[in-house]
Symmetry: C2
Subunit: 709 residues, 2 copies
Amino acid sequence: MMNRLPLAAALSLCLSSAIADEGMWTFNNFPAAKVGQAYGFTPDQAWLDHVRMASVRIAGGCSASLVSSEGLVMTNHHCARSCIENVSGLTHKDYNRDGFYAKTVGEEARCPGMEMNQLVEITDVTKRVQDATRDATPATFNDVQKATLAAIEKECGTSDELRCEVVTLYEGGRYDLYKYRRYQDVRLVFAPEDRIAFFGGDPDNFNFPRYDLDVSMVRIYGSDGKPLHNAEHLSWSDGKLKDGDLTFVSGNPGGTARELTMAQFDDERDDKLVRDIALRSELRGYLTEYGERGAEQKRQSNDMLFGTENGLKVFTGRHEALSDKAFYGQLAANEKAFRAKVMADPALAQAYGGVWDAIGELVRKDEIYRTEYTALERGIRYSSLFTIARNLVRHGDEVAKPNGERLREFGESRLPQMKAVTLANEPIYDELEIATLTWSLTRMRADLGADSPIVKRVFGKRSPAQIATDAVRHTRLKELQVGAHGNAIGGYRKALYDGGKAAVDASHDPMIELARALDPDARAIRKKVETEVDGPMKRQQELLAKARFAVYGDSKYPDATFTLRLSYGTVKGWTEGDHAVAPFTTIAGAFDRATGADPFQLPDSWIKDKPRLDLSTPMNVVTTNDIIGGNSGSPLVNRKGEVAGLIFDGNIHSLGGDYGYDPALNRAVAVDSAALLEAMDKVYGAGRLVKEIKGSPTKLAADKVPTGQ
Amino acid sequence: MMNRLPLAAALSLCLSSAIADEGMWTFNNFPAAKVGQAYGFTPDQAWLDHVRMASVRIAGGCSASLVSSEGLVMTNHHCARSCIENVSGLTHKDYNRDGFYAKTVGEEARCPGMEMNQLVEITDVTKRVQDATRDATPATFNDVQKATLAAIEKECGTSDELRCEVVTLYEGGRYDLYKYRRYQDVRLVFAPEDRIAFFGGDPDNFNFPRYDLDVSMVRIYGSDGKPLHNAEHLSWSDGKLKDGDLTFVSGNPGGTARELTMAQFDDERDDKLVRDIALRSELRGYLTEYGERGAEQKRQSNDMLFGTENGLKVFTGRHEALSDKAFYGQLAANEKAFRAKVMADPALAQAYGGVWDAIGELVRKDEIYRTEYTALERGIRYSSLFTIARNLVRHGDEVAKPNGERLREFGESRLPQMKAVTLANEPIYDELEIATLTWSLTRMRADLGADSPIVKRVFGKRSPAQIATDAVRHTRLKELQVGAHGNAIGGYRKALYDGGKAAVDASHDPMIELARALDPDARAIRKKVETEVDGPMKRQQELLAKARFAVYGDSKYPDATFTLRLSYGTVKGWTEGDHAVAPFTTIAGAFDRATGADPFQLPDSWIKDKPRLDLSTPMNVVTTNDIIGGNSGSPLVNRKGEVAGLIFDGNIHSLGGDYGYDPALNRAVAVDSAALLEAMDKVYGAGRLVKEIKGSPTKLAADKVPTGQ
C-alpha cells in the first residue's frame, strides 16, 4: 500500500505539459473541459462540490470518504491500523489479527488521536504572502514568511472545530488558504482481519494481480457525542465497473517531487533516498526479529513494521526510477529545454537565469547539515514517549512566544492538533519503547560520532540501553487519565501540558530530561537549516515558479502537498515486459493464491464462508488515475459520483510517480466496490452497515448526474 | 576494520599515473627506485624476498605475517574471530569476550577451517592464456578461459601442500600463476578480549583517533603435527616509530575497482552499492535484536554482526565517495582524457574505440540478471548448513565432469580448499541457523516475487520459517566426527562428500533437498551471467587493458585481487576540515575514552593492570600506505624489514580507496608494535610469546639492511 505519511513538499516546477490522464488537480482548477473532450463527460461545479464535500482527510496521513448520511467513513484498513492497534491495546484484544465489527452503534470504539478533516473553503492568499516577503533577505525570508502564514491561519479562526492551513502550491507560485472542518471523535466500526486486508503482505505490496480487502469503516461523531448527520456523502454504485470506464479519485496525495531541479534529483538519488533505504532496512530487520520475542510483542510492533516495510518499498522504487537512465535522461532533457527557453529571453534570463545554480549551492549546504539535522530533529521519532516528551518541552517554550515566532507546528492554528497528538490515549508498551529508543540512540551516537560534544554531554558514560531503560521505566508520562470518550482529563502528562514552561522546567522526569538535554542542539541545527537553506530555497523556488509560469503558462497541476486533489483516468491493465496484466482480479483468485501460511494465509472466516461467496465477484482493479502515497483510502468514483471502489495501493511503476507519471505503466490499485459489499454481507454479517450504505441516497442522485458537454 | 573478504575483481584500467605513496604493487614489479628517490631507501631483491616469504595469507580473506622461527603468526583479532568463536563453541567458553592465551604449546587450539598460504613463486602465463582465447567467440570466451586456467593450475600441481592460482592482473592485461605453500593446521595461541581488540566498536570503526589492540597470534603446524620450523620471518623492531618514518605494508588487498569505466561506476553507485547497503542494514537490525535473545545467542551471532556492520560501513563509504561530485568528476575526467587519446590515434580508435560502449551494454545486461542471480547464487550465504548442503550437492555433480568444465571453485586446484571448508568442524547453532535461513528465504521470496515459478516450486505452500525450521532441525549434516586435530574422519556429512553424486542423489536429508531444489535455477542464471556477461566482459577488459598499455605504458600497479602486494608510505596525520589529526594515539588515550559501557568499556584486565602500564606507549598509528580490505592483519614494516606495527583498519577516507587514492586524506591504521609488546607482557603475562618474538632474529639482521640507492 501507499505511504501513509505526506512526503516532503516538492521544490520546483515541472516542465512537460500534462499528458494522458496525468495530474493531481486542485478542485478549483480541475480541467473539466479536457476530461469532457477525452471521455464525453464534463464534471460540473455541483458534481465537483459534491465529491469534495464527501471527501475527508485523515490528519495522520490518509484519505477517506463519507458513505452514509450518518457519518460513516470508508478508508483503508492500513489507514486505521494505528486505531485498530490502539483499540486492541486498550482492551487487550488483537483486532488487527481477528477483525473488528461493532454490531451496534454502542459498540463503536473511539480511535485515540484520530482526526478527520473536511475541506470546506479555498481562498487565494498569494498576493499577501508574496508581498510580505518581497523585501526580506535570504536570511530573514523564512521567519517573515512563517509569521505571515501564522497570522493568516490565526485570522481564519482555527479552533477545535476548524483547521486553517496556508498551502504552498507550485512551490511558492501560489498560496491558498484551506479551511477544514475538524472532527476529533472518530470511532472504529468495522475492520476485516489482517490476513485479508493485507493478503500477500510485503511481497505483494505494490504488486498486481492483487487480492486485498484493504478496508475499514469508522464513524465521525459530532461534539454532541452523536453520529454526525451529514447531507454530503457518496452513494454506492449499483453498476459493475468495466474495462475502459472513466474513474475519478478524490483524495490527498501526500507529496510529489516532479518539479525539482537536476541538482535536487541528484541529491535524492545519491543521498537522501539511500539514507531512507538504509534506515528502513535496518529497522525492518530489527522489528522482524523483535516480533519473534512472542505473539504479544509481534502484535505491538506489527504496525511499525508494516509502515517501515511500506516505506522501504516506496523509497526503493523511487531510487530505481531515478537510477533508470531513460527516466533520468527525460528529467534532464526537460530541465535543459526549460533553461534554454529562459536563457533565450533576455528579460527572463536576467530575472531567473541564476536560479538553477543557486539551488545547487543550497543543496550542497543542506547536505552538510543533513546528518546532524536528521539525527537530532528526526532521530528518535520511533519512540512514542520521547516524542511526547519533546512535544511537552517545546510546547512549554513555544507558547510563551508570539504566534509568528514559534516553531511552525506550535503556531496557534496548529496547537489543537499538537495537543491532540500529545495527549492521545494510545497504549504505551515499555518493552517496545525501550527497544526502539535504544536503537534510536545507538544510531544517533553513530551518526553524530562518539566524539561529538553533544554525544558526550547527553550520553556521558551511559550506554543507549541504559539511558532508554531508565527513561522508559521511570517516566511518568505514561500517566494519563481519560474521560468517557478517550479524551485526556488528568494525569502527569496532562499536568505538564497544561502547566506549560514552569511545570516542564520543574520536572525531573527522565524522559523529559532526555528531551531537554537534546533540545538546544536540535533547535540550533533546525534554525541553521531553516535560515540558511529553507528560507533561501523558498526564495529561489518562487523565482523558478515565476519562470515556469512565464514560459509554460499556468494550466498545470501543482506538485502534491497532502491536500485534496482530483485525478481522472480509466480502468485499464498494462503490459509488463511481454505479458499483459488484466485490470481485474476476482475473489476466486484469492483462494487460488492462498498457501495456508502467512502472508498468503486467508482468514478462517473466508475459508468457512467460501461456499456462500460469489467467486466471480471482482476483487481488485487497476486504473490509470495519477495517485501517490496519501491517496490511500480515497474513493474511486464513477461519473455518477458514486463509490465504485476504494484506492489502497499503486503498482510498482507508480513509485516512480513521485518524479513523473508514465501513462503506459503507472497504475492505481483499488478494491472493487462489489467485493466490499460481498464480503461485508456474506463473510462478516455486517448487514447493519450494508443497509446503511445502500439505503443512504445522496443529493446527487443518478438521474441528476450531468451528462457532459 | 577492513572488509575481510576479497571484493569482486576490478574490471578496467586506471588512468592517472600513480602519485605520492599510491599503489598496491606486485612484488615482481615494485617501484624500488622510485621509493629510493623519494625516501633514500631502495629495497633490494633480498629485502623483497624476505618480506614476501615472511608474509602469509589467510585463505578466508585476511593477511598475516610470520614473527618467529617456530611458525608463530601475527594477524588481527578480527581476522581470527571465526576461529576464536569456533574454539569457544567447541569448548563452551566465550574467548571473544574473555580473551585466550595458551600458556603452553600444548594448550594451543586448532582453528577449524583456517588455512594459511605462503606465496613462493610467480610465473607469467599471459601468452598461454591469451592465445587460448584468441579465437573464442564472446559466448565461448568464458568456458575456454576457465578450462585454460584450470589446466594451468592443475599442471602446477595443487595438492594438500600446494595451492596454484592463476591471477588476472590489469583486468586481463596480464595473467600470473601464483604458487602458494598451504598450511591447514593452524592453532590459536593468543587473543585479547573483544573489548580492547575492538574498543569503540562499530562507532569507532574506520575512525581515528583510535585505541584498539586488534591482534591475535596463531601458530602454523606442519603435517607432522609440530610447530612449523621456518627460517623466514620478521623480527620485531627495537626502535620507536616516528612521524615521517618510511613504512611498508605487505599483505593481500582484497580488491579495488580503480579502473572501471564510467558505466560501471554508475552501476556501482546507483545499483550495486545500494543493494549492498540495504542488505547489510537489514541484517544488522536483525542480528542486533537477535542478540537480545540472550547472552549465548549474542555470542553466537556476534561474529556475523561484526562482519555485517563492517561491510555496511565499507559500502556506505564507497557510495559516498562515488556520490561526491568532485571525486566522481575526476573519474569522469580521467575516462574522457583516456578515450580522447585512443580516438586521436586511428589505429587505437579502430582497435579499442568501441570498448566503452560495449561495456556499457554488458552492464545493462548484467543489471537485468542481477536480482535473480543474487537471490539464487548468493541469497542464502548466511546459513552455514545450507552452504554445506549446496557444496555437497554441487561437489557430487562437478567432480564427475572433466576438470576444465567444472564450476571454477570445484576445479582440481581448488578442491582441497572446498573440502576443507565443507568438512570444517565449525560449531552449528540450530537457533541461529533457523533465524538466518528464515530471513534468507523470506528475502529470496521477496526478491524473486511470490509469483515466480521457482518460488512456487521450491516453497510450495510452506512458509520460510517452516522450511527453515524443518531443514535445520532434521538435517543430518551436523553429524561430523573429527580426529585429534579437528579433521573430519566420519559422520553423515563426510559420507556424502566421499560418496559423491550417488550418495547425494540418494539422500533425503531436508537441507540437501532444499539445496537440490534450488540448484537447477541457480546454475541456470549463473550460466547465463557467465556466458552472456562475464565472458564478453573479460574480452572487452582485455581490449581496454591493451589500450591502456598502449597509451600509458606498463609502469603501473594492477587493481587489487587478494594477492600479495607491497605498498610504501610514511607515518603521517592528516587535516580533517580545519582540524589536524595527529598520527599517534597512546595507551593513556584508551583510558580517557572509556565510558564503562560497551562498546567503550575496557576489559577488567586493563583496568586492573593500568598501574603497571607505561601509559605514554603509542597505541595506534596512521600512515599513508595505500591499503584496502584484505590487508587486515598485514605487518607494518620498517626499512629494516622489521615489525613496526600491525595494520587493522583504514580511516573513513580510505573507503573511497576502492575507486581512487587521495594522498591528502587516505590513511592506513595500525597497532603500534610497542603497544603489542606492552600489553602482551604486562596485561596478559604472555612472557612465553614475548620471549619467542624477541628472541628470534632473522636472516635480514639490522646490520645487513641495504641502505639505499
